[in-house]
Structure formats: structure tokens, C-alpha cells
């Protein structure tokens, strides 16, 4: 594996909660522009890995490098500025706020928060607003044209499936280099999940080199969209390779697919 093509590199990453070892000396690389599937039974450390990478948990030991930045024990804000965006397993949208406001949270680091700009230069503010509204509407329309017309409705009034789409859009609108998707299709039918992922890939095609790490339980989906898979069990990486490789691996079958 060539160093120049590695976007995220984790070495010996360990996360302990008291006596529980949620991540155990994990080595993991994400290549530039790839779609990496993250598999493993419940409690195997997939979400913990996301939380450690995005700075919500401070890892107990190890190294994390993202492009040229050291992200070991970085704050969530530093991780975001470095170019990593994520969705949450249980949707974390601000329900009383509008769809547009929630998307603008994704843009936060690109917005001008100066007092002068926000309070006095309202003309310029409104020009920027118009631009961002168009952007938000276009992005939403990729996922669902109906949703684009609901830009100014509170997220609380929107269906769970559309909320998933909004959450993915919120992560995408921040222009990340790495996107972490934590079970984006939870609660969706197979067709809806397929559609969502297809939409994500379509947006990605227009963005250039966006790498995606996807936690997903639906095997068909993993097979269709991922370039490479990593399987976790008890906080360790037990297998790595193409979907075919991992599906044929006896360890994986025992741990995950329940065949032994």
C-alpha cells in the first residue's frame, strides 16, 4: 500500500472504558477516494471507531494521521476543520430548526461569523444566503426533489427516512475529504437504502476525491457499493479485503454471519 494514497491512517488505536476494551490495537487505513465498508457484530467497536476518529472520545493509545494532520486526541472541531464529516447512528438533527438551518450547521466552518458581516452588512449577508439556499436546494434535490421544497419546514415535521437524507446532506455540504456514514440506511427498506447510497455516490462523483467509510449491516448493499471491507470483532480487526474475500473468510463467517 502506497503512503501517498493513504488518507486516514490509524495505528495501534486503543479505546478503553474502564475494564472494557472497545478498540484493541486497531490498525486501519482509508485510501483516498475509496468506499470502505466497516462490518462487525453489534458492539464490535465500529461506532466507537467513528467516535474516536471524530474526537468525541479521547483514545487511550495509538496514532491517528489524516492526510498531513495528526488527529490523535484532536477535538471534534479540529477534526471537522481537517475535513472529516459524519452522520450519526441515531439521527442528531436539531428538530425545532428548519431543514435549511440544519444543513447550514454542516457549512458552519465555511460561514462568516463576524459581527460586522452578520449585523450590519445585511446586503452581502443576503447575497451569501441566496447562494447557500440554492446550494442546499440542489443538494437536497439530488436525494429527493420533494425534500428540496421543504427547506423551511422544521425537521421535527419530516419523516424519519427524509431525516436520514438530511443528515447525509448536512455532512456532504461541509465539503469533506472523508465521510463517515454510520448506518445511514437504518429503518429504510432495501430499495430506499439502495437509492440513498446511489445518491451519495452520485454526489461524490461531482466532488472529486471523497473517501467514504460506511457502517452497514445490509450485505447486498455492502457488496454493491464498497471497494474494500474491514471486519471488526471485539474491537479488533479480524479481516480485510474485497467483499468476496471477507465473505469467504472462516473467521468472519463465525463471528458475523453466524456460521461456524
Amino acid at each position: 500500500m502506497n503512503d501517498a494514497t493513504i488518507l486516514l491512517r490509524a495505528r495501534g488505536l486503543t479505546m478503553r472504558f474502564g475494564g472494557v476494551v472497545a478498540l484493541n490495537e486497531l490498525d486501519l487505513d482509508v485510501q483516498r477516494g475509496e468506499v470502505l465498508g466497516l462490518l462487525g457484530p453489534n458492539g464490535s467497536g465500529k461506532t466507537t471507531f467513528f467516535n474516536v476518529i471524530t474526537g468525541l472520545y479521547a483514545p487511550s493509545a495509538g496514532q491517528v494521521r489524516f492526510a498531513d494532520t495528526d488527529l490523535f486526541r484532536a477535538s471534534p472541531q479540529q477534526v471537522c476543520r481537517a475535513g472529516i464529516a459524519r452522520t450519526f447512528q441515531r439521527s442528531r438533527l436539531c428538530l425545532p430548526l428548519s431543514v435549511f438551518d440544519n444543513l447550514m450547521l454542516g457549512c458552519h466552518i465555511h460561514l462568516d461569523h463576524g459581527l460586522l458581516f452578520n449585523l450590519l452588512r445585511r446586503r452581502r449577508f443576503e447575497a451569501e444566503l441566496t447562494r447557500l439556499q440554492r446550494r442546499a436546494r440542489e443538494l437536497l434535490a439530488t436525494f429527493s426533489p420533494a425534500l428540496a421544497d421543504r427547506l423551511y419546514q422544521p425537521v421535527g415535521a419530516i419523516s424519519m427516512i427524509d431525516r436520514r437524507r438530511i443528515e447525509v446532506c448536512r455532512a456532504l455540504i461541509s465539503d469533506p475529504r472523508l465521510l463517515l456514514l454510520d448506518e445511514p440506511s437504518a429503518g429504510m427498506t432495501h430499495d430506499e437504502a439502495d437509492e440513498l447510497l446511489a445518491d451519495v455516490l452520485r454526489v461524490r462523483a461531482g466532488l472529486g476525491e471523497l473517501a467514504i467509510v460506511l457502517i452497514e449491516h445490509e450485505m447486498g448493499l455492502i457488496e454493491r457499493v464498497t471497494d474494500r471491507c474491514v471486519v471488526f470483532n471485539y474491537g479488533r480487526k479480524i479481516c480485510e479485503g474485497s467483499y468476496r474475500t471477507i465473505a469467504a473468510d472462516p473467521w468472519v463467517q463465525e463471528a458475523y454471519l453466524g456460521q461456524g
Partner: protein
């Protein structure tokens, strides 16, 4: 509250005069308020309150309120100007009434202070139960500077705010490190300490308080009855106008703040710290911003109030007074500046008019809070979804 009807704009039939219900609604409010100031006997006030309550209860059931609201939301600028004109009209109407103008000005300065609380609690979710203390810091700053330094009055107002903001910074570390009940306790303790400190400190007048000299703002003698248009005016008209200018200015400023990226950042900090941090929002920075700005506004309001009543004593800045400020914010609708207007009338002015209530004030607050929590948990005027101003037509 479930889905806020966001498509109110479609309710109004085309071809009708859509501003008419808005003007009507505003007129009803102005007439009620005027009658309220005129009313002298307690039964008159009682009748007015009954009318207002009946209107308030009936309004959601008749389409008038919805269309009035539509009109206000469709032409916010026009109606803000009309509201300002109505307020000026009321001041003109009561130009000789000391008491009515004093009440009006007091209400306005307290609205300004509550706007500060709204920035802290309503926008950013930072609780502050020491509102009266920060208001008091503004009062004392004005009293000390007016008595001992020859500074322009406008500067004194600003310094009142600056002192409140600066002394509030002492609280920053505990406020940032605690949440919910604990943060409430920290600010509560500060409020109690402030009063005790002022009572034992002779430099600041001790329990007897300090008097302020008459002040002049840019050549405008605030303590003298003005001679405008050859009419007789009470000198309190000056303060009512000062209060109105402050509140109107803050309305413009804070509504811009709310409808901006700053307002959005503050909201997100309140609603979901984890999501906010994940998208790069500096939680501490925005909490400090809201806390300092809120305290500054309370200090400015306090400094102006002190100049008006020309006397400052620790007994006006008790825990009870802080709770009154919080209850105005909660009753009006957390985060909605317009809600402060009806709330301040109910919490501050009604007890002033109904003297017999004074004894049972806290009992009534208790009942009011319970009633609000039961029937209107979002306050009288719940906060609306953010609209930035120039939305594309959906």
C-alpha cells in the same frame, strides 16, 4: 408543539387587503394597553384583564389572529414601525401622567434586560438566575460614575453595560463547566452574594443606597419636563422615550442577530452540543459570547433605569427580582423577543395596578408558572422557525 403551520401565507385570500387584520390586531393591543394605563379603580383593571384574557383565549379559534399574524410575518418592517408609532402615540396620550409614564419606562427598561436574558437562555441555553444582579451592577456603575466623575451620560450607559459584562466574566469558568441545575445554582449564588456585598459595603452606600444627580444626555435634560409643541409634559416622558429607543434599537439588533449565522450557531449550541462540536462549532466561544452580550444588555438597561429613578439600593436586586426577569422570559416564550411585551405587562404592570395583589405576588407567580407549564409550555408567544429575510419563494 407539533408542526408549526409554516404556510400561513396561503391562508389569506388573494385580493383582500392582507394588512388589515394586522393593523386591527395592533390597534386592539394599543387600545387595551392605553385603557389599562387609564384605569384607576381595581375593578376597571379587572374588567380589562378579563377582556384581554377572553380575547387571548378566543383568538386562536377565530381566523382573525392567524391572519393578523400572517400580516405581521409578511410585512415585519411595516408592522415594527406601526408598533413604534403606537407606542409613541401612547406616550403622547399620557404626556402629563407621572405614574403611567414611570410604569411604562420601568417596563421598557426591564424588557431590555429580559432581552439580554433571552440572548443567554433563549438563544444559547445558558441559564442565568442573577439577572437582577447584572441589572444592579449597571445601576450602581451609573450611580458611582454620575456621582463622582464628570462623564457624558451616554458613556455612563455603555460603561454600565461594560461593568456588568466584565464582572460577569468572573462567573464564566463555573458557568462553562456546569450545566442545567448546577449552572443555575452558580448564578443564583452570585445574585445573592451581590446583594449581600452591596449591603455591607459603605463605599457603595450600604443598605441605604446611593442617590444620583440629574443627568443630561447630549444636551437633553432628562430630569426636566420638556416643552415640546407648547404642551405640558411630565419629565418621565424623557425616560419613556429613552426606554423606547433602547428597546426598539435592541429589537432591530437582536432580530438581525437571530436571523444570521451567529443566531444559528447559538441555537445549535443550545440544541445539540455533540452535533455542533462535530461540525466545528466552538461551544465555549459562543457560550461566552451569549453570556457576555446578555450581561452587557442587562447592565445598560440597569444604568438607564438608575438614572431615571435617581436612587439605587441593594434591596431592589434580590433573588426575587432575578426570578421576575426569568419569569418574564419564560412566560413570553423563550427566545421570542415579542413575547416579552405581553409578559412584562402581566408580570410587572398588573401587580402595580392591582395593589391588593402585591401581598400575594409570589403565590400568584407560582400559580401562573404552573398554568403556563400546563397549558402553554412554550409561553404566550412561542418562538417561530427562523426566517432569514430574503427566502426564495418555495
Amino acid at each position: 408543539m407539533a408542526a408549526v403551520p409554516n404556510d400561513l401565507l396561503t391562508v389569506v385570500p388573494r385580493g383582500a387587503r392582507p394588512w388589515l387584520p394586522g393593523v386591527l390586531g395592533l390597534a386592539v393591543v394599543a387600545v387595551l394597553l392605553g385603557a389599562f394605563f387609564y384605569a384607576e379603580s381595581e375593578w376597571e383593571v379587572g374588567v380589562l384583564l378579563a377582556i384581554a384574557a377572553a380575547l387571548g383565549l378566543a383568538a386562536p379559534r377565530v381566523p382573525l389572529l392567524a391572519s393578523a399574524e400572517t400580516a405581521w410575518r409578511a410585512r415585519p418592517r411595516l408592522f415594527a414601525w406601526l408598533a413604534l408609532l403606537a407606542a409613541l402615540g401612547l406616550i403622547g396620550l399620557f404626556r402629563e401622567e407621572h405614574l403611567a409614564l414611570l410604569m411604562l419606562a420601568t417596563a421598557l427598561f426591564h424588557i431590555a434586560a429580559c432581552m439580554g436574558l433571552n440572548v443567554q437562555f433563549g438563544y444559547c441555553g445558558v441559564v442565568n438566575f442573577a439577572g437582577a444582579a447584572f441589572f444592579g451592577i449597571g445601576c450602581y456603575t451609573a450611580a458611582m460614575l454620575a456621582g463622582h466623575a464628570a462623564l457624558p451620560t451616554a458613556l455612563i450607559f455603555v460603561l454600565g453595560g461594560a461593568c456588568a459584562a466584565l464582572i460577569g466574566c468572573v462567573l464564566l469558568v463555573p458557568v462553562l463547566r456546569t450545566r442545567g441545575h448546577y449552572a443555575a445554582l452558580v448564578t443564583l449564588a452570585f445574585g445573592v452574594l451581590f446583594r449581600s456585598f452591596m449591603e455591607v459595603n459603605d463605599t457603595f452606600g450600604g443598605p441605604q443606597g446611593v442617590k444620583l444627580p440629574d443627568m443630561t444626555l447630549f444636551g437633553w435634560a432628562l430630569a426636566m419636563p420638556p416643552e415640546w409643541f407648547g404642551l405640558d409634559w411630565s419629565f418621565y416622558v424623557n425616560y419613556a422615550l429613552l426606554g423606547l429607543a433602547l428597546v426598539a434599537g435592541l429589537f432591530v439588533l437582536l432580530s438581525r442577530l437571530e436571523r444570521s449565522w451567529i443566531g444559528l450557531a447559538l441555537d445549535v449550541v443550545r440544541l445539540d452540543e455533540t452535533a455542533a462540536a462535530t461540525f466545528g462549532v466552538q461551544l465555549t466561544r459562543w457560550k461566552i459570547f451569549a453570556f457576555v452580550l446578555g450581561n452587557f444588555l442587562m447592565g445598560v438597561a440597569g444604568a438607564m433605569y438608575a438614572v431615571m429613578i435617581a436612587f439605587v439600593a441593594p434591596s431592589s436586586f434580590t433573588l426575587g427580582d432575578s426570578l421576575i426577569l426569568v419569569s418574564i422570559v419564560v412566560l413570553g416564550g423563550v427566545g421570542n423577543q415579542w413575547g416579552l411585551l405581553p409578559a412584562v405587562v402581566i408580570v410587572m404592570l398588573v401587580p402595580e395596578k392591582l395593589q391588593f395583589i402585591q401581598e400575594y405576588r409570589f403565590l400568584l407567580y407560582g400559580l401562573l408558572v404552573i398554568a403556563i407549564l400546563l397549558f402553554k409550555p412554550d409561553g404566550l408567544l412561542p418562538r417561530r422557525l427562523r426566517r432569514y429575510g430574503t427566502e426564495e419563494a418555495a
